[in-house]
Subunit: 298 residues, 2 copies
Amino acid sequence: MTFNGLSAFPITPITQDGIDERAFARLINRLTEAGVDSIGAEGSTGSYAYLSRQERARVAELAVKEAGTTPVLVSIGAIRLRDVLNHAEDAQKAGAQALLLPAMSYFPLRDEEVFSLYAAVSRAVSVPVIIYDAPGTTQFRFSDALVQRIAALPHIASIKVPSAFPTAQEAIARLHRLAEQSPASLTLGVSRDPTAAEGLRHGAKVWYSEWGGLFPKLARRLTDAALAGDHATIESVSATFKPFWEMSNRYGGSLRVIASAAALMGLAQEPCLPEPLQGVSAEDRAVLEELIRTHTPS
Amino acid sequence: MTFNGLSAFPITPITQDGIDERAFARLINRLTEAGVDSIGAEGSTGSYAYLSRQERARVAELAVKEAGTTPVLVSIGAIRLRDVLNHAEDAQKAGAQALLLPAMSYFPLRDEEVFSLYAAVSRAVSVPVIIYDAPGTTQFRFSDALVQRIAALPHIASIKVPSAFPTAQEAIARLHRLAEQSPASLTLGVSRDPTAAEGLRHGAKVWYSEWGGLFPKLARRLTDAALAGDHATIESVSATFKPFWEMSNRYGGSLRVIASAAALMGLAQEPCLPEPLQGVSAEDRAVLEELIRTHTPS
């Protein structure tokens, strides 16, 4: 597959009875209807880290089935290598077109350990692997040198860089360095929605988007505007996203806010997060409700 | 059970074939022979976070069986509440006398979520629960107020505080505040070996010790000296521990170094860590070998 444009990361709605397959299918359908370029099922926003092996295999199957011709990416992250390799096997069997691999850990990993993780996966798989750089959850920071060592392994096809870590400016400088150093086989991508458009204007070819999993039409417009350098549209679409991004920042990440918004839009039951995670406070829920009513994002 | 003195946390040796039960049993036997007050099986040092539900239940059973009359504590930590409750059930069935509960997470948890986690466990269990404060792996910091809310729940019996986090001085000040604020039902304990003796001299009653899982006799002497205020012995035993503690610091934690030392002492195979974790470098292995030969710690 080629990596480009908008890769949307939907939540995996979870109720007391388990995964809400109907709600999940509907979320996937909204993404294909909006014309996203790929779907990141079971990314961080899709709660991959909270699901059992069986649940992860099932969600991957469902995503591929509902996505039709749209390629599906699946995270294979786990604390232990044995589990990572099991998830890789399951995801490939389910028809995932690429695998997201974070340096997930309990004890934060060391460079050699991370390299050995990617090397073991590279030997075991037959589809492209995306380096999933997620320092907020893994506590691991990839050096440029380590990225290049990993990028030289077979099957390593893309990297998902947080677009504002540790600052927006440093992330942009890093993108420029990566563009210069990396082999042509490595497609640069950005995550973290508020500064992703900026990343697309500085060498990234893919936006791995969290809010794009709930508001795919808006994210589609922002992606196209960023890739075309259409500043007026970037500004206006960003203005619609902005209050959602700001609330996400206050909650230390998007998932809790997206889950609450999905429930308010009738796209998931409430609560729909794996416990002990909780949605937003009653006060913020009222703010979200008003935002959704007045902005009608989709 | 009462919480006091030395609680030793052994590694769980893991080979390509799975858990090395014989090596694990031998490690437990060394602890009871040294007269530790309790055994923390499957703590962070026992790699609980890397094991499947079946492996965790099996290790808990083995530990209880080999420990004889020495009480065994078992970590029930998991990213998802559903799994935490399953581990609690398994550990109690295995005969664990207390449960260690960390705020383990993928997305770092918020105060209300952590409280709901402890409340759900408190409702489900019949044995004492230890608040396992491990900011280095969980990214969560307990406020004094949150500790007191949790300490008021049924079954909450102890707290394991890192003795040097964020600094040794602040940890001591925190121990004094906790001693003042906490109900008599909450026994204060310290982890992080290099400053644990200092913690025992400032209100902590238990040392939850990582290196004590490998060198239980030394840790026994340090515990007794600290509780008795015997400064000369504290100094001399600490001097023996010091190079091991310093190497642990360089590796961002004790586990990798303890695992390599255990292999060098013939107490585990090499490698004995869950991949992708690795033992120390060849260079540090030589240093460790010399340290073990000259210091003959046990």
